[in-house]
Symmetry: C2
Subunit: 242 residues, 2 copies
DNA sequence: CGATCTGTTGACGGCAGTCAAGTCAAGTGG
DNA sequence: CCACTTGACTTGACTGCCGTCAACAGATCG
């Protein structure tokens, strides 16, 4: 019965990893319990409050992290202050640049955020040792690339109205995947400021306001509060988003 | 001397792989000669003329390919015809979506193009067998992601003038890396139409024309012909590009 | 030679940016 | 408790950049 007790020991050691809410979708799902144990040794949980800066651009990177809860916004900032959000990170998304010398992005907590952080070199060593982990990272990077290119199309070719509609569709899809209870009439929490939406869409916040007003006046969305919305007509929204 | 003759045999079999111009920078550089032999077996060269369509969007993918010569433009097209080029592929860049069910992009030869094509499943099997190959693919995908995000900033936040200046810098850098003989006063071939530049920058071709004129009137670029330019003041160009 | 494609230039208009005033909610301190 | 501040958001008026439309110039080609 020696093996069993060892298994039990491991399970107790793994602790919160086994009940982690992103276990199914995160990178760590590629690992066996045994491997996870090693993974946990280089992991550290960190909590950030809304507005906290997680990474400044251009510094040397020291860690890679998975988002456990909350939303992280990653952006690039031009010298004169113009900002472009190049990605929103939701739970199970990853942050940081593996195999890179430099972090290229500015990362900020948009809401309260919990990260599961891995020390950089330890993480890279594990990538070499566990092919499943590297495979998963590759697949995720490929998906990220597809998403980035989709967004390029939005930024380069869509009108303000189409951009804002596309954005609400994105939020509805991402947050409903999380809740696994999507219906067209759900209320979605929108944890971003108007100006952050603008920075994501390549618009000013005034323009974002006006488009939201237009969508509301045309019975497509409804705003119980300034930070939450309900989609009244999903088909029209999809049609407008292009 | 049996081993030696076997080596010689392999070398002769490898043939054009050994003298391939993208050997140093392409994915295949991760492989030993022995591995390369297997790689070559699933490889097939294809040639496209300027304007040929390489991939339509949304179909099932059947191959992955490296660009040997020429320029491939990858784009997304909205239902009403608006187009956004989401990437230009230069020699040693790769085309196609590994581990993906669907190809998401429209790919077209912008110039005469030579591709080194690999049958999809054979390529994916090799990725599993040769970790170095997968590592190289991962690194390249990460770089592609960085480039895409850089371009998102351009599309979302830069003015027409800044966009056009950034574009010429990109071309100058990419083509001079190729030639390995970069000087500020080099002449660069610009194998894209004005409207393709527009589709890449999220502008109309008329606006591209006007910005080119402005750069020329201000002694920053010079156009010996419609498709080639010389950078007269690289510092000003960098400054304008932001 | 006309046909076609690509590029240039001008005139005009509209979408989205800029500037500015004002509302609202939450927080702070006397 | 109220006065005050602050930050987020809204709305209006105006402007300007860039898109649209159109005419035309050159180049290439059968």
């Amino acid at each position: 019965m020696r093996i069993l007790s060892q298994e039990a020991y491991k399970a107790s050691e793994l602790g919160r990893c086994l009940t982690c809410i992103i276990k199914e979708k995160g990178l760590c799902n590629a690992l066996t319990n045994e491997q996870l144990l090693r993974f946990k040794q280089i992991a550290r949980k960190r909590v950030y409050e809304a507005g906290d800066i997680i990474l400044y651009g251009e510094e040397k990177v020291s860690f890679v992290a998975g988002v456990v809860s909350g939303i992280v916004k990653m952006s690039k900032i031009l010298i004169d202050g113009r900002q472009q959000i190049i990605g929103l990170l939701f739970p199970s998304d990853n942050l940081g640049r593996v195999f890179g010398q430099k972090n290229l992005y500015f990362a900020e907590a948009a809401t309260k955020v919990e990260l599961c952080c891995f020390e950089q070199t330890g993480f890279e060593e594990m990538l070499e040792d566990f092919p499943e982990l590297k495979q998963r990272l590759l697949l995720q990077t490929l998906d990220d690339l597809d998403a980035a290119r989709e967004w390029m199309t939005l930024l380069g070719r869509k009108t303000a109205k189409e951009k804002v509609a596309s954005f609400f569709l994105l939020i509805a899809r991402r947050t409903s995947i999380e809740k696994k209870a999507h219906q067209s009439y759900d209320i979605f929490e929108m944890n971003l400021k108007r100006c952050e939406i603008g920075d994501y869409l390549g618009l000013t916040y005034e323009t974002v306001c006006r488009q939201i007003r237009w969508l509301t006046e045309n019975d497509i969305t409804e705003w119980p509060s300034k930070r939450s919305f309900r989609v009244k007509d999903i088909h029209k929204l999809i049609e407008i988003a292009k």
